[in-house]
């Protein structure tokens, strides 16, 4: 095989893996469950995973830059709880309370960024600390009990419809599109890839590395907060343990979508498909009445398989 052809195959394989696995799952579930392919179920998949996709998009930005954000699940819970509490306990207007939740997420993310950029902490450590801190604040604020009673204007964002389309679907499609444009069309996006590719080179080329890092972690926090609000709206209440493990789903979706853990490689379309794959797998297993504990085993196995194919393709590429 010529080098060019092998490269083309390898690149195709790397881009295509996640789509192939998703197709395989769709075929498998439509053969084993007659409810799977029904329109309502497909809409369910798109709606129920809105928060995962939104968080995964933020995680992808951070990972492309060579970082990681472990705090997203906790930040989501905190933003959900605060926005719900401001409405239910303090009588804030829904819009103001949601804006406050989103701002809080942005600030939490920015704090991660400050610890990483100026405190020189590794992203893993800084965001692990934030994972604990944000969860702790959530537990203190909620006193360990769910907060409910936010009203329709709040739950609309996970339960309502914009025209004929479910609102959460609109939300995630818009977010995916915006961040995709951000990464592929703007200077900021190029600089994220550059930092992930080689931070020192980027710095020497005059890329404002610190600013890009701060903003990227801030955006990841912002998107985590948005996910928290979607999640809170979907279950009609802010749960103190909401979003636990969400960071792992987001990392899994990104990695499945072809984002490198070392930065510089990957993109939003891959991540979106990766997140849908995670969602489809969960949905299909629910339909097949697989118990929730073994579901995690299967999810782990699928992740390993997809990444193994990716590593193989990478070896092919290098020749």
């Amino acid at each position: 095989m010529t080098v060019a052809r092998r490269n083309a195959l390898a690149t195709g394989l790397r881009r295509g893996t996640v789509i192939l696995v998703l197709l395989a799952l769709v075929i498998f579930f439509s053969l084993t469950s007659d409810r799977f392919l029904q329109g309502r179920n497909l809409v369910n998949i798109a709606v129920q995973n809105a928060h995962v996709i939104v968080v995964a998009v933020g995680m992808t930005m951070v990972m492309l830059m060579g970082g990681i954000d472990l705090s997203v699940g906790s930040v989501a819970a905190l933003a959900g709880a605060i926005s719900a509490g401001l409405i239910a306990r303090d009588g804030w207007a829904v819009g103001t309370a949601m804006a406050a939740g989103l701002a809080l997420g942005f600030i939490a993310g920015l704090t991660n960024g400050v610890l990483i950029v100026y405190g020189k902490l590794p992203p893993f450590v800084a965001t692990l600390a934030m994972l604990g801190v944000a969860r702790g604040f959530t537990l203190v604020y909620t006193e360990g009990r769910p907060i409910s009673g936010m009203g329709d204007a709040y739950t609309f964002w996970s339960r309502g419809e914009i025209g004929p389309i479910p609102a959460p679907l609109v939300v995630w499609v818009v977010i995916v599109a915006l961040v995709w444009l951000l990464l592929t069309r703007t200077r900021f996006g190029l600089h994220i890839y550059a930092i992930g590719g080689n931070e020192e080179t980027a710095r020497l080329a005059g890329v404002p590395v610190n600013r890009v890092k701060l903003l990227t972690f801030g955006l990841s926090g912002f998107l985590a907060a948005l996910a928290g609000i979607l999640l809170t709206a979907r279950v009609f209440s802010a749960q103190p343990q909401a979003g636990a493990g969400l960071e792992l789903d987001a990392i899994a979706a990104s990695v499945l979508g072809g984002v490198s853990l070392f930065g510089g490689v990957g993109g939003i379309p891959g991540t979106a498909v990766g997140a849908l794959l995670v969602g489809t797998l969960g949905n299909g297993m629910n339909l097949l009445r697989v118990a929730s504990y073994p579901q995690q085993v299967i999810q782990g196995a699928v992740l390993v398989m997809a990444v193994a194919v990716d590593m193989y393709a990478k070896r092919l590429e290098r020749g």
Binding site: T186, A194, G197, T201
Partner: protein, 506 residues
């Protein structure tokens, strides 16, 4: 135009904990001048250039740019003045395409703020590459380009900065002779336009081919700065090392042609080498010349089992051996000192002793327990034998100079007492003094009956050190030469496969 020099660095001093890196260095660069900056590793070249690039602030001294004192806080400041730097280690981002790499940090703005005008970016990149006579697609990802082309992209990047002064740190370390000549033409064209160049290189032939003046640093001080016409290479070497160096290329005793230790017949690996047949005698240094990409490294990797051969035979001392993995090669007595010692040869964060003994741990350990006293003893022996300069056996290898790092890698393989030692570019990025020591070491080993296969892109080195020279082109052996009678032109024309006798950098 003012009569001030373009750049005047005056009384520059800089110390780091425990080291006086620079003391009172004076350096001037005129407009349209090529100044070569030479010195052994650790002489202070990179510190001086980092100060010029705004990475370090000097402890004392001043930088005058067009006669005006300037303070540089970052590479960005330097860039704005018109100082641009091409680093020795490639500083490109592999997963970005050529155009993005060239214009990173100064992308042309598109119709909306924050966006990028892609078509303008690629058109400018195309123009920049055309200027250099490079046929490279600006939309191609850098990782798919051969090393030499990547280097040229770096050059294109610096030129695109409209620099008034370009610092090139070992720009030719991975270029072929032909590409070096292209680069030199470009540098001369720049000079004609009034651009100045500080050219850092260990290769004195290049310095004498391109530079107007030579500045020599030793131990953090400027020991001289003279027009190249007033100097000979021997004088420059003496200034660099501070002593008489008998000869860089020191022949060992006339090689006593021993028995054939390695016999390779019809060795092929798809897409890499084809039908390679040669013999290596005990005590012989066999040089392998060729252009970058001619299959020399691939040959070494095949012999060492990194990528197994698809056909052909390898015999060691007459016995046919199967080599599918490096472990088999090692067991058979073949050792490889790879081209990129940092990536494939060294554990940079581990200490000297561990690095030297790494390959022996399996044999030394009893019940999995490492006898550290014995390790230190063995490592100490080799440090002494190879004259590895390190403050202690506990020093991290990362902190040693390039030449001493190379000796550590060689020491590791010597612990296994190999019969065949393959050295891939053994002196790349190593200063003159250390080079001479590596050559001496090679002759010593050959004297003890080790067969040495030396791959090198430096023709003077190939001719100066080898007992016999093979030339490769497109994966095949295309010639065998006697270095006592062959010239650089002979090797080049064999390597390029043209009657046109290549270039020899003079």
């Amino acid at each position: 135009m003012s009569t001030q020099p373009l750049l005047h660095m005056t009384h520059i001093s800089k110390s780091f904990p425990g080291v006086q890196a620079l003391s009172g260095v004076e350096l001037t660069v005129e407009r349209g001048e090529i100044l070569a900056l030479v010195g052994e590793n650790g002489a202070g070249k990179s510190t001086l250039m980092r100060i010029l690039n705004g990475v370090f602030a000097p402890d004392s001294g001043q930088i005058l740019w067009n006669g005006q004192p300037v303070t540089l806080h970052s590479p960005h400041d330097a860039q704005r003045l018109g100082i641009s730097m091409i680093h020795q280690e490639l500083a490109l981002i592999p997963y970005l395409d050529v155009g993005k790499n060239i214009y990173l940090g100064r992308e042309p703005t598109g119709s909306l703020p924050g966006t990028i005008n892609w078509s303008k970016l690629y058109a400018q990149a195309r123009q920049q590459l055309d200027c250099l006579g490079l046929d490279i697609d600006p939309r191609r990802q850098v990782r798919f380009l051969p090393l030499a082309q990547q280097q040229m992209v770096e050059v294109a990047k610096a030129l695109s900065l409209d620099a008034r002064l370009i610092v090139m740190d070992e720009p030719t370390s991975s270029l072929t002779e032909r590409e070096v000549e292209t680069l030199f033409q470009q540098i001369r064209a720049l000079r004609a336009q009034g651009v100045s160049v500080i050219y850092i290189s260990h290769r004195l032939e290049e310095v004498f081919a391109i530079a107007d003046r030579v500045a020599v640093l030793r131990d953090g001080s400027l020991v001289g700065c003279k027009p190249v016409a007033d100097l000979t290479p021997e004088q420059v070497i003496r200034m660099m090392v501070g002593r008489e160096l008998s000869q860089v290329y020191e022949k060992g005793d006339e090689a006593s042609a021993g028995d054939v230790v390695l016999a390779v017949e019809h060795l092929s690996r798809e897409g890499a080498i084809q039908d390679v047949t040669f013999r290596l005698h005990a005590g012989e240094i066999l040089g392998v010349a060729g252009l970058v990409g001619a299959g020399r490294t691939e040959l070494a990797e095949t012999l060492f089992g990194v990528h197994p051969a698809t056909s052909g035979t390898i015999r060691l001392n007459g016995q046919e051996v199967t080599i599918q993995r490096p472990a088999q090669a090692i067991r058979s007595g073949i050792a490889l000192v790879p081209e990129d010692r940092k990536a494939a040869g060294l554990f940079l964060r581990m200490n000297v002793a561990t690095n030297i003994v790494m390959a022996l741990f399996g044999r030394l350990a009893r019940w999995g327990i490492i006898p550290w006293a014995r390790v230190e003893q063995i490592a100490g022996d080799f440090v002494e034998r190879l004259d590895i300069r390190t403050p202690s056996l506990q020093q991290r290898v990362r902190n040693l100079s390039g030449g001493n790092q190379q000796k550590v890698v060689i020491a590791r393989w010597l612990t296994l007492e190999p019969e065949v030692l393959i050295l891939d570019e053994p002196t790349r990025g190593i200063d003159v003094g250390a080079k001479a020591e590596i050559y001496r070491l090679m002759h010593q080993l050959a004297g003890r009956g080790v067969g040495i296969l030396m791959i090198s892109s430096e023709l003077p080195e190939i001719l100066g050190v080898s007992d016999r020279v093979l030339v490769m082109r497109e994966g095949r052996l295309v010639g065998e030469f006697d270095p006592r009678t062959a010239t650089q032109d002979d090797l080049m024309s064999a390597a390029t496969g043209s009657g046109d006798s290549g270039r020899n950098g003079q």
